[in-house]
C-alpha cells in the first residue's frame, strides 16, 4: 500500500526559504525525501560576463544577505591573491571583526528560526530581540543593517573609530548577558531536548563521507573549521573550533550557540589588538590566473574558485557554499524521522538556499 506523499515547500511557513521536499510519509514517519531546488537560482556566477571584477563584489555580497560579508571577503581575498596585493594589517583585523559580527548575527537569526521550527515562539522572539543589537552595530559602523558592503579589493571601505569600538564592546556585553540568560533554555530545557536530541543523527563517518561542512560537521564530532587556515588576522587570534559529538540536531544547535559566544570573544579580542594604519591598499591592473580559496562562513566552509584572464571580466567564478555541501547529508538524515521533526532537522543544517543555488 502506498504511503502519504506530501509536498513540503517551496512556499511553506516553517521554511524561511523556498526549497521543496517531496516527503513520503508513513504514519508520520518519513520514509523518503526527494529535494527539488531551483526556486532561488539566479545564475549569479554568470554575471561575471556583465560586471567587472570590482562590481562583482556587490554581486557576491548578494549571494546571500546572511553571510554577505564573508562572501565578499573571500572573493576579495581571491582577487588579491591573483593580483598579489598586500592587504594592510588594520584592514585584515577589520575584516575579522565584521565577519565575526556577521557570524553572530547569522547564528542568532538561525537560533531563532530553529526555535520557531519546534514551535518555541518566545525563544524565537528573544533571539531576534538580542540580534537587533548586532544589526545596530552593523548599521552604525557600515551604514546598512544586513548587507554591510565593507569590502573592497585591497582592503575595506569603512573604518572603526575608538569610540565606536568601545560602543561595540558595550553592546556585545549586553548581547552576551542576554544570551547567557537563555543558554539553559537552548541547552537544557526538557521540551527543547525532547524535540532535538536524537533527531537527524549524522554519525562522524557519515558526516565526513557525505561532505558536511561547518557546524553540521562539528556537531558530529569533527573539529574542522576553516578559520584554522588563519586567514586575515586570525593568525594573531587564538582560536579553537567548537565541537559536539552528538551528531543530532541538538548538537548542531549547541555548536552554534557556543560559537556565537566564541565569536563575541573573537570580536572583542580583535578590537583590543586593532593596529593602526591604512584600511586599503592601492589597486592597479587586472587579475590573471586561477585560484581556489576557502573561508569559514557561519554555515561552514565556503570555497571560491576564480579564474581570470587579465581582462576586466573574470573568466569563471565558482562558489561552493556550505549549504551546498550540507544538502547530501540532509537527504541522508531525513528518512526515519518523524514528520514533526522535518523542520527541525532541515533547519538544523541551517540551510541557506540562496547560497546553495546562487
Amino acid at each position: 500500500m502506498s504511503n502519504t506523499i506530501l509536498p513540503f515547500g517551496p512556499q511553506h511557513p516553517v521554511l524561511p526559504e523556498p526549497i521543496h521536499l517531496s516527503l513520503t510519509v508513513e504514519d508520520e514517519v518519513v520514509r523518503q525525501a526527494v529535494p527539488a531546488l531551483g526556486y532561488v537560482h539566479r545564475g549569479l556566477e554568470m554575471l561575471t560576463r556583465k560586471k567587472d571584477f570590482h562590481q562583482m563584489i556587490q554581486v557576491v555580497e548578494r549571494v546571500c544577505g546572511i553571510c554577505s560579508m564573508m562572501h565578499a571577503m573571500c572573493y576579495c581575498r581571491g582577487i588579491e591573491t591573483l593580483m598579489d596585493i598586500e592587504v594592510p594589517r588594520r584592514a585584515q583585523f577589520l575584516r575579522v571583526i565584521w565577519s565575526e559580527l556577521h557570524r553572530i548575527h547569522s547564528h542568532l537569526l538561525w537560533l531563532g528560526l530553529y526555535a520557531d521550527s519546534f514551535g518555541f515562539e518566545s525563544v524565537f522572539m528573544q533571539f531576534w530581540k538580542i540580534r537587533e543589537r548586532i544589526m545596530d552595530i552593523n548599521e552604525a559602523t557600515a551604514g546598512n543593517r544586513v548587507i554591510v558592503s565593507v569590502n573592497r579589493v585591497g582592503g575595506v571601505r569603512r573604518d572603526l573609530s575608538p569610540s565606536q569600538c568601545w560602543w561595540i564592546g558595550e553592546q556585545l556585553d549586553e548581547v552576551e548577558t542576554e544570551l547567557k540568560a537563555i543558554e539553559s533554555t537552548m541547552l537544557d530545557n526538557y521540551t527543547v531536548k525532547k524535540r532535538t536530541v536524537g533527531k537527524g543523527v549524522l554519525t562522524k563517518e557519515d558526516a565526513w563521507e557525505l561532505g558536511a561542512a561547518g557546524p553540521t560537521l562539528r556537531g558530529s564530532g569533527i573539529a574542522r573549521d576553516m578559520r584554522e587556515l588563519k586567514y586575515e588576522a586570525l593568525d594573531e587570534l587564538e582560536f579553537e573550533p567548537v565541537v559536539e559529538t552528538g551528531g543530532d540536531a541538538y548538537a548542531r544547535g549547541a555548536v552554534r550557540f557556543k560559537e556565537t559566544l566564541q565569536s563575541i570573544d573573537l570580536v572583542r579580542r580583535a578590537m583590543a589588538r586593532l593596529p593602526g594604519g591604512e584600511t586599503a591598499a592601492k589597486v592597479k591592473g587586472k587579475p590573471e590566473g586561477e585560484t581556489a580559496l576557502r573561508v569559514e562562513q557561519p554555515r561552514g566552509e565556503c570555497m571560491y574558485y576564480i579564474k581570470a584572464d587579465g581582462s576586466r571580466f573574470l573568466d569563471r567564478l565558482r562558489i561552493r557554499t556550505p549549504t551546498f555541501a550540507n544538502i547530501p547529508p540532509l537527504t541522508a538524515m531525513l528518512p526515519g524521522i518523524e514528520l514533526a521533526d522535518v523542520p527541525v532537522v532541515v533547519l538544523s543544517i541551517d540551510p541557506c538556499i540562496s547560497c546553495t543555488e546562487r
Partner: protein
C-alpha cells in the same frame, strides 16, 4: 420465499409485544420423546464436530468435542440416569422479547438484503451449482436457533441451541469454500467448541449442586447468595467466547471472509448476542459478587483494547469487527456493573449496536461488491462514486459515535454507571475516545473528494435499498424514541426505582440526565441552520487545495522534483507504532487471558 419468511418473522416478533412475560411448558417439550430427540441431536452435533476435527486434523477441535461427548455422556447417563430433571420449557420476559424483536427484525432485513447480494456473489464466485438455497436455509436455521436460544428456559436446551449456532456459524463462515474461508471456519469452530465445553461444564456443575436445569429457578435460588460462582463464571466465559471477547476475538475477525450478510448477522443480531444474552440472563445471579466486577473489568478491557486495535486497521471489515468486539465489551462491562442503570445501558447498547452494525455491514457489502476492495484507503472520496451508499455509511457511523443517537446515549449511561469504579472508568474513557478516532477518520475519508477510480453507475437493488433505509430509519427512530421504549420495553426490574426514567423527553436518573428530545430538536435546528448557511456559500467556486504553492493542473497533484507531476496521496495514518495489530495483539491477548484467569481464580 425467503422474503416472505422474513416478513413472517418480523410480524410474529412484533405480535409478541405486550404478551410478556410468558412462562409455559408446552406438552411436546416435556415428553420423553422430545428429550430423547434432543439428546440424540446433541450427540449427533458433537459427533459432527468430532468429524470435522478429525478431518481438519485439528487436535483442539477433536479433543474438545470428544471431551464434550464424554461429558455429555457422563451427564446424561450417569448423573441424570435415575433423577430425571423436570422439563423447564419456555420463558419469555422482556429481555427475551427484546432479543426476539432484534433477531427477527434485524435478521429479516439482513435476509432481505442478502437476496440480491447473494445472486451477485454467486455470479462473481461461479460455483458449479448454486448453493444459495443451502445458504438461505442455514440463515433461517441460524435465526431460528437464536430465537429458541433466547426463549428456552432449560439449560440443556440452551446448550443445544448454543451448539447449533456454533454449527451454523461454522458452516456459513466456510460457505465460500476457499482456503481462508475453511481455515477461519476452523478457528470459529475451535473457539466456540471451547465455549461449548465450558458451558457444558458449567451446566453440569450447576446441576450437581442445585439439581435443576430450570434457568429461572437457578437464578432465583442463587440470587443474592454469592454461591455457585464457579459454574456461573464458567457460563460467563462461555458467553465471552461467543461474544468474541478478548482473547477469543479471533474467530469473529476471521468470520468476515464469509459473504457480507453472514457477517452482518453474526455481528449484529445473532451469535455474538447469544453470548451477551447468556451473561445478561444470569446477571442477577451473580450481582454484587466479585464475579460481577470481573465481568465488568474483562468487558471494559475488551472495549478498550479492541478499540485500540481498530484504530490501527485500514481494512474496513476488520474495523467493523473490532468495533463489534469493542462494543460487546462495553455491553458486558455494563452487565458486570450490574446496577439497574447499567443493565438498561447494556440492553439499549445491544439494541442500538445491532441496528447500526447491521446497517454498516450491509453497506460495507455493497461497497465491497462495487469497488472490489474492503480497504478504507480505497474508499477515499467514495461519495463521488457511490452517492447513495456513502452518505448512508456516514450516517451509520454518526449514529455510532455522536449524540443524540442511541449508541452514545448508551455510552453515556455506561459511563455514568461506571463512574464509581476507577479502573473501569479509565478504560471506558480511553476506549470511547479511541472509538471516536477510528469512526471519525472513516467518515471523513468517505465523504472526501479525491476518488480516483473510474466512476461506474451505482446500482443498488430495490431490496437492498429497502433494507438499508429501513435500518437507517430504525436507528434514528429508535434513538428518538429511546426514553419511551426504554420504559415500555425493558424489564421492570431494570427500569424501576434507581434506574433511568424519562423526564420531559430526557432520560434521567439520580446522577444525570440525557436530554434526548431537546437534543434531537437542537440537532434538527442546527442541521437546518447548517444547511441554510452552507447553501449560501455554495455559490462559491471550489478552490484547489493548498500544495505549498506548486499545485499541479489537476486537483491533488503538485509539480514535484524533476518537474514531475506528482500526486499527493494521503494514506496510512493508522499509527501502527501504537495500535498496530502485530504490536498490540500479543500483549492484549495475554492481559485479557490473565484477567479472565483472575476472574475465575477469584471465584474459587
Amino acid at each position: 420465499m425467503a422474503a416472505a419468511a422474513s416478513a413472517l418473522l418480523t410480524t410474529g416478533s412484533i405480535l409478541l409485544i405486550g404478551q410478556v412475560p410468558i412462562r409455559s411448558v408446552p406438552a411436546f417439550l416435556s415428553g420423553d420423546l422430545f428429550a430423547t430427540a434432543v439428546q440424540a441431536a446433541d450427540f449427533a452435533l458433537l459427533g459432527l464436530f468430532l468429524f470435522f476435527g478429525i478431518r481438519f486434523k485439528d487436535l483442539l477441535i477433536t479433543g474438545l468435542s470428544a471431551a464434550q461427548i464424554a461429558g455429555l455422556f457422563f451427564f446424561e447417563f450417569v448423573i441424570l440416569a435415575d433423577s430425571h430433571a423436570p422439563a423447564a420449557g419456555l420463558y419469555c420476559d422482556s429481555l427475551s422479547l427484546v432479543m426476539v424483536l432484534l433477531i427477527c427484525i434485524a435478521g429479516s432485513l439482513i435476509v432481505l438484503y442478502a437476496l440480491p447480494y447473494m445472486q451477485e456473489h454467486e455470479r462473481h464466485l461461479k460455483p458449479g451449482k448454486s448453493r444459495n438455497p443451502v445458504f438461505f436455509s442455514l440463515l433461517f436455521v441460524f435465526i431460528a436457533a437464536m430465537n429458541a436460544l433466547v426463549l428456552v428456559n432449560d439449560l440443556m436446551l440452551f446448550y443445544f441451541c448454543f451448539e447449533i449456532t456454533t454449527l451454523c456459524s461454522f458452516l456459513l463462515i466456510g460457505h465460500d469454500r476457499t482456503r481462508t474461508a475453511r481455515e477461519n471456519a476452523g478457528t470459529a469452530l475451535r473457539i466456540n467448541s471451547m465455549g461449548g465445553a465450558v458451558l457444558l461444564l458449567g451446566i453440569v456443575l450447576i446441576y450437581t449442586r442445585l439439581h435443576t436445569l430450570d434457568i429461572q429457578e437457578v437464578i432465583a435460588r442463587v440470587q443474592g447468595t454469592g454461591a455457585l460462582l464457579i459454574p456461573l463464571g464458567l457460563l460467563c466465559v462461555a458467553g465471552f467466547t461467543k461474544a468474541a471477547q478478548m482473547p477469543f476475538q479471533k474467530w469473529l475477525l476471521g468470520a468476515m471472509v464469509a459473504p457480507t450478510p453472514v457477517s452482518a448477522l453474526l455481528h449484529s443480531a445473532t451469535m455474538v448476542k447469544a453470548g451477551v444474552y447468556l451473561v445478561i440472563r444470569f446477571a442477577p445471579a451473580f450481582a454484587g459478587t466479585f464475579l460481577s466486577t470481573g465481568v465488568a473489568v474483562c468487558g471494559a478491557f475488551t472495549f478498550l483494547s479492541a478499540a485500540a486495535l481498530a484504530v490501527g486497521q485500514s481494512n474496513g471489515k476488520k474495523v467493523l469487527a473490532y468495533s463489534t468486539v469493542s462494543n460487546l465489551g462495553l455491553i458486558l462491562a455494563c452487565v458486570g456493573i450490574n446496577t439497574r442503570s447499567a443493565l438498561s445501558a447494556a440492553i439499549l447498547l445491544m439494541i442500538f449496536h445491532a441496528v447500526s452494525k447491521a446497517l454498516l455491514f450491509l453497506c460495507m457489502g455493497s461497497v465491497e461488491q462495487h469497488i472490489k476492495s474492503r480497504d478504507i484507503e480505497d474508499m477515499r472520496g467514495l461519495f463521488g462514486e457511490m452517492p447513495k451508499v456513502a452518505p448512508i455509511i456516514t450516517m451509520g457511523i454518526l449514529t455510532m459515535i455522536l449524540p443524540p443517537f442511541g449508541m452514545l446515549l448508551g455510552k453515556w449511561m455506561a459511563i455514568e454507571s461506571a463512574a464509581g469504579n476507577l479502573f473501569l472508568l479509565f478504560m471506558l474513557a480511553m476506549g470511547s475516545a479511541l472509538t471516536v478516532v477510528y469512526w471519525a477518520r472513516w467518515a471523513g475519508i468517505l465523504m472526501g473528494s479525491d476518488f480516483r477510480g473510474k466512476p461506474r453507475p451505482e446500482r443498488l437493488h430495490v431490496l437492498s435499498t429497502i433494507s438499508l433505509f429501513s435500518l437507517l430509519g430504525l436507528a434514528i427512530l429508535l434513538s428518538v424514541s429511546a426514553p419511551f421504549f426504554h420504559t415500555g420495553l425493558l424489564p421492570g426490574s431494570i427500569t424501576g426505582a434507581g434506574g433511568f426514567a424519562p423526564v420531559n423527553g430526557s432520560l434521567a436518573n439520580s446522577a444525570g440526565s440525557f436530554a434526548v428530545i431537546p437534543l434531537f430538536l437542537a440537532a434538527a435546528a442546527s442541521f437546518l441552520f447548517a444547511l441554510a448557511g452552507s447553501g449560501r456559500s455554495s455559490g462559491a467556486e471550489t478552490a484547489a487545495p493548498y500544495m505549498s504553492g506548486i499545485a499541479g493542473p489537476e486537483n491533488g497533484t503538485y509539480i514535484g522534483p524533476m518537474n514531475r507531476i506528482t500526486r499527493s496521496v494521503n494514506r496510512n495514518y493508522y499509527l501502527s507504532a501504537f495500535f498496530g495489530e502485530q504490536r498490540l495483539s500479543g500483549a492484549v491477548n495475554a492481559c485479557a487471558g490473565i484477567l479472565i484467569l483472575l476472574m475465575m481464580g477469584a471465584c474459587i
